[in-house]
């Protein structure tokens, strides 16, 4: 728990809502619109926090706990990421499993909350989300496996930090593949195009949006903030793999990280404006493709 | 010089026929085909008289193995063209240029395969034979021949691709030395070749060229293709193309034998041979189409060829003799089947009483039945007996027993169909057949099969000295012994 680490975490927490904002802004500009301001999400969060709560009579404690658990698990997961490129606030051997597990916990909480409402739309979204998760999780683990083989360290601080930087010269090819695979995973887990269109109004085509359909007020604020944080966490993953920052000093590494996050957000925006959402049956295919890339990266390490 | 001419003359003629506008829309230039076939045969005959020097830096050379296949090809091609004179009077292919060009290109490609001593050149020739035959299978352009051509192309192309990989493996076996893939070179330095690569090369080349031969389990294209192609094309394929493919297998066996890996190669060859025999025996029963029946018979004989090679000793000589006998006999049978198809529309079990309507063809068919199933006094009996002898010599009595059992089953299966269509009462002509001019068995249509039959019969009693000499030398190159 170094001051640097906590500082980095705090900064990430503050900056997180800007990341989806950058993505949306990029997409708007590329499609010829002016789009909402980059800091729009902050304003939305402020507005939502001041609203009152309304709960449906069919819901139980699970529904109320969902957003809280989701955000809490994301914050704890963030503790394991080495934001300064060297050391995370918390680390132990095998903490990547804990990281994946915490993300899964968050998703699980939201899915349960969705099913708790008893609405068919939410149930539909919940099952879709679970399907995508069942393909995304193995891919994430395959990426981690490739990183472990490359860096030779079993904790996230190691596979995203110093040992990774040392591995780049000779494992560059497989690390690039892992980077691409993680980017596809980012798109999938955060419900961006081509997996899910965040801007759609049609409930039948939604995956993530429809899960949170019944939440309102502060709960929705928690969920929106949580999504932004999750996007940022995945962005940190991708940036750490592609741009090893172990050689830089603390502030410089953080600055590089946030610059990288911005670049990832722009990339997401570009992808959103260039591609269309793929049919739902093709989403597993896409994820398996990412898994195949990660598998190839792993094999390259073994060979 | 002569070797180059043997390959170049048919190739140039093929290109001229395919390209020159004077041939567009005309009938098939049979005279031209005859001239080229005759020239080719004469050149080959001259090779027997005086062996030529290798050409193209040793890439082309006529050694006993190659000479056997080349002669077989040349004789079969000549006979086929003579048959074509009569055949084309009754059935003219839609694209005469493609027909003639394909035949000539096949002759050129087969000559290249027979004479090539650079193994990659052998591969190129082999692929060329596949490609030149494909349009010929497709001549009738109906659904069935289309399906057959597609299956043939896909399976053969994959097989040839694997053979190419095997050739590259052979090159890898040379390690750092990087010499060209010349056969005499490879044989001389065989012991220095890396055994792992050599084994892999042998397997891939066997599977690859075995696909072209029609060895089981890569034989699936054979019944469809032989069944749908015009009979004279099927005859060429069954006699000559299989010989060329067998040559590919034999070449790699030469290298493997010289490298001392015979104990690895022989069981593999025997396994493929027995499998082919088994498959042939199974599918011959209940077969209703004569050409498909002959295709399975071809699978059987390919199995025997490979068995002889695998058994070693006098089996190698038996294989070489069988190559010649089988090639000629298959050509004979397919041409006769072609006569039947011309006369009655299809050579299958719908026919009856052919002995009355087509006496010459029917007789030749029955005689051919006996020849192809290895009955005395035809030449195939002698060659099959030699292979059996090799089995007994090597102490593989159960292999010999399996061969005999398979041969018996095949005889029964084939006889059932052949005798069924030859004997009995011919069906009364119905409908449009009443006024149609019956297909006379003209001299052109019968001369070819008769000639081939005569040769096969002669080979059952007497093998001319030069032939025996060449076959023995070929057998010894394959690691075996003479008779």
């Amino acid at each position: 728990m170094t001051p640097d680490g906590l500082l980095g975490l705090g900064l990430l927490g503050i900056v997180a809502p800007a990341v989806p904002g950058i993505a949306v802004k990029t997409k708007s500009l590329l499609t010829g619109r002016r789009g909402p301001p980059v800091l729009q999400l902050y304003a939305d969060l402020a507005k939502l926090v001041r609203k009152g709560r309304v709960y449906s009579r069919t819901t139980t404690l699970i529904f109320r706990a969902g957003p809280v658990v989701a955000l809490a698990s994301l914050i704890v997961a963030a503790l394991f990421l080495p934001l300064d490129g060297r050391e995370a606030p918390a680390r132990f051997a095998g903490d990547m499993v804990a990281f994946a597990g915490l993300l899964a916990l968050g998703r699980f909480a939201l899915v349960l909350a969705a099913m708790d409402t008893g609405s068919s739309f939410e149930g539909l979204g919940a099952s879709r989300e679970a399907t995508i998760a069942s393909f995304a999780e193995p891919t994430l683990f395959l990426c981690f496996m490739a990183l472990v083989l490359a860096a030779g360290d079993l904790s996230l601080s190691g596979i995203l930090g110093g040992p990774l930087a040392a591995a780049w010269p000779h494992a560059g090819a497989s690390l690039s593949l892992v980077g691409v695979s993680l980017f596809v995973l980012l798109l999938a887990e955060n419900s961006r195009v081509p997996v899910d269109d965040p801007a759609t109004h049609l409930e039948l085509t939604m995956i993530h949006e429809v899960i949170v359909l019944d939440h309102g007020g502060p709960d929705l604020a928690l969920i929106l903030y949580g999504s932004a944080l999750k996007l940022s966490l995945f962005g940190v993953l991708v940036v750490s793999v592609l741009v090893p920052r172990a050689g830089f000093s603390g502030p410089a590494a953080l600055a590089l990280l946030f610059a990288g996050l911005g670049a990832i957000a722009v990339a997401v925006g570009v992808v959103e404006s260039v591609m269309a959402r793929v049919r739902l049956v093709r989403v597993p295919q896409l994820l398996v493709g990412a898994a195949a890339l990660a598998l190839v990266a792993t094999i390259l390490q073994l060979g | 010089m002569r070797l180059l001419a043997l390959c170049a003359i048919p190739l140039v003629t093929a290109l001229v026929v395919l390209g020159a506008p004077v041939f567009r829309g005309r009938r098939v230039p049979v005279a031209l085909l005859l001239v080229v076939a005759g020239a080719h045969l004469t050149l080959v005959a001259s090779l027997w008289v005086a062996g030529p020097r290798p050409a193209l830096d040793g890439w082309l050379a006529a050694d006993p193995l190659g000479l056997t296949v080349l002669t077989l090809t040349s004789v079969l091609f000549f006979v086929t063209v003579i048959y074509a004179v009569g055949y084309l009077r009754h059935e003219e292919p839609r694209s005469a240029r493609v027909f003639a060009g394909g035949l000539l290109a096949f002759l050129a490609a087969a000559s290249v395969v027979a004479l090539a001593h650079h193994l990659a050149m052998l591969w190129v020739g082999m692929e060329a034979t596949t490609l030149s035959i494909a349009p010929l299978v497709f001549v009738r352009r109906d659904r069935r021949s289309l399906e057959a051509t597609w299956k043939y192309l896909v399976v053969s192309s994959v097989g040839i691709a694997l053979a190419l990989l095997g050739t590259f493996f052979l090159a890898s076996a040379q390690g750092d030395l990087g010499r060209p893939l010349l056969l005499p070179d490879l044989i001389a330095h065989a012991r220095e070749l890396h055994p792992a690569w050599l084994r892999a090369a042998f397997l891939f080349l066997l599977v690859g060229f075995g696909t072209k031969m029609g060895l089981a389990p890569m034989h699936t294209w054979k019944p469809d293709t032989y069944g749908e192609a015009p009979s004279l094309v099927s005859g060429l394929m069954a006699g000559s193309l299989t010989g060329c493919a067998f040559l590919g297998v034999a070449r790699v066996t030469e290298v493997v034998a010289a490298a001392g890996l015979g104990s690895f190669a022989q069981p593999v060859l025997i396994a493929f041979g027995l499998l082919s025999l088994g498959v042939a025996a199974t599918f011959v029963i209940g077969q209703r189409d004569v050409k498909r029946l002959l295709a399975y018979s071809s699978v059987e004989h390919m199995g025997l060829l490979v068995l002889g090679l695998g058994l070693g000793g006098v089996g190698a000589y038996g294989s070489m003799l069988h190559l010649v006998n089988n090639g000629l006999a298959k050509g004979w049978m397919f041409l006769v089947a072609g006569n039947i198809a011309l006369a009655t529309g299809a050579a299958n079990s719908g026919n009856r009483g052919l002995i009355r309507t087509l006496p010459a063809s029917a007789t030749l068919l029955v005689l051919g039945l006996f020849a192809v199933t290895g009955s005395p006094p035809f030449g195939l009996f002698l060659s099959e007996f030699t292979i059996l002898r090799a089995a007994f010599d090597g102490g593989h009595t159960w292999i010999a027993a399996t061969i005999l059992a398979a041969l018996a089953v095949i005889f029964v299966g084939m006889a059932a169909l052949v005798l069924g269509i030859v004997l009995g009462e011919p069906p009364a002509p119905i409908g449009r057949d009443l006024g149609a001019v019956p297909v006379r068995e003209s001299g052109w249509l019968v001369a070819g099969p008769v000639a081939l039959a005569a040769i096969v019969l002669m080979l059952g009693f007497y093998i001319p000295g030069p032939l025996r000499d060449v076959l023995t030398r070929a057998a010894m190159a394959l690691g075996g012994t003479g008779p």
């Binding site: 060979g303 | 050149m121 190129v124 192309l153 060209p180 469809d224």
Partner: protein, 212 residues
């Protein structure tokens, strides 16, 4: 030059997996063209020194594999008016997983083969992987045109392997191989054209009239 060759070989594997996972025929052909271009770059990248042999092989490969054959296949698609492959015999997801397994298998086999030190270490595994993936496409797809694409991927794998033997397999032979492939695919294209005319579809599972 070694690193550049390594990157190119990796891109070849990626193109294999991409072709394996797509259902649009035009994407298959574009992937094939990209692969052909990458293959054309390789002789120049792995030759110890630039020679006429290497450059002409590279140019020939690019012309045949990246330009002529894809253009011809695109013509065939237009003629047959097919857009998509229907669900193949082995589903797309399973195909991708098989493809990744094929890469694993190829690396495993390659590590057991005795290779000389002077060769590019990734060349043999990538060639074997491409070979196996070509086989997978050839055997599990229904549309005849996609089977031709699979055959071409198979040939690409073999071509890659041939690049390890630059001395024993001379220039003329490589050219002969290229020519053979070209003519072969040309003939296949004609047959596909006729299949489309006769059967009104390119579904090769309809070709079942001949059997015993």
């Amino acid at each position: 030059m070694r690193d550049a060759a390594q990157v190119v070989l990796l891109l070849v594997v990626l193109s294999d997996l991409a072709i394996l996972g797509t259902s649009r025929l035009s994407s298959c052909i574009r992937g094939l063209a990209a692969q052909g271009f990458l293959l054309g770059l390789l002789p120049v990248l792995i030759a110890p020194q630039l020679s006429v042999h290497a450059v002409s092989l590279a140019v020939g490969t690019v012309i045949v594999k990246a330009v002529a054959l894809p253009w011809f296949l695109a013509w065939a698609i237009r003629e047959a008016a097919v857009r998509r492959e229907v669900e193949p015999i082995v589903g797309f997801i399973a195909s991708q997983l098989l493809g990744a397994l094929a890469v694993a298998l190829a690396f495993a086999i390659a590590s057991r083969l005795p290779l000389t030190a002077m060769q590019q270490p990734l060349l043999v595994p990538v060639s074997l992987a491409t070979l196996i993936i070509g086989f997978i496409v050839l055997t599990t797809r229904r549309k005849a045109l996609v089977q031709v694409v699979g055959y071409l991927i198979l040939e690409n794998g073999i071509y890659l392997f041939g690049l390890t033997q630059t001395e024993s397999v001379p220039f003329l032979i490589e050219l002969g191989v290229l020519l053979d492939v070209f003519v072969g695919v040309f003939i296949m294209g004609i047959v596909v054209f006729h299949i489309n005319r006769e059967f009104d579809s390119l579904d090769s599972t309809r070709l079942t009239e001949l059997s015993d």
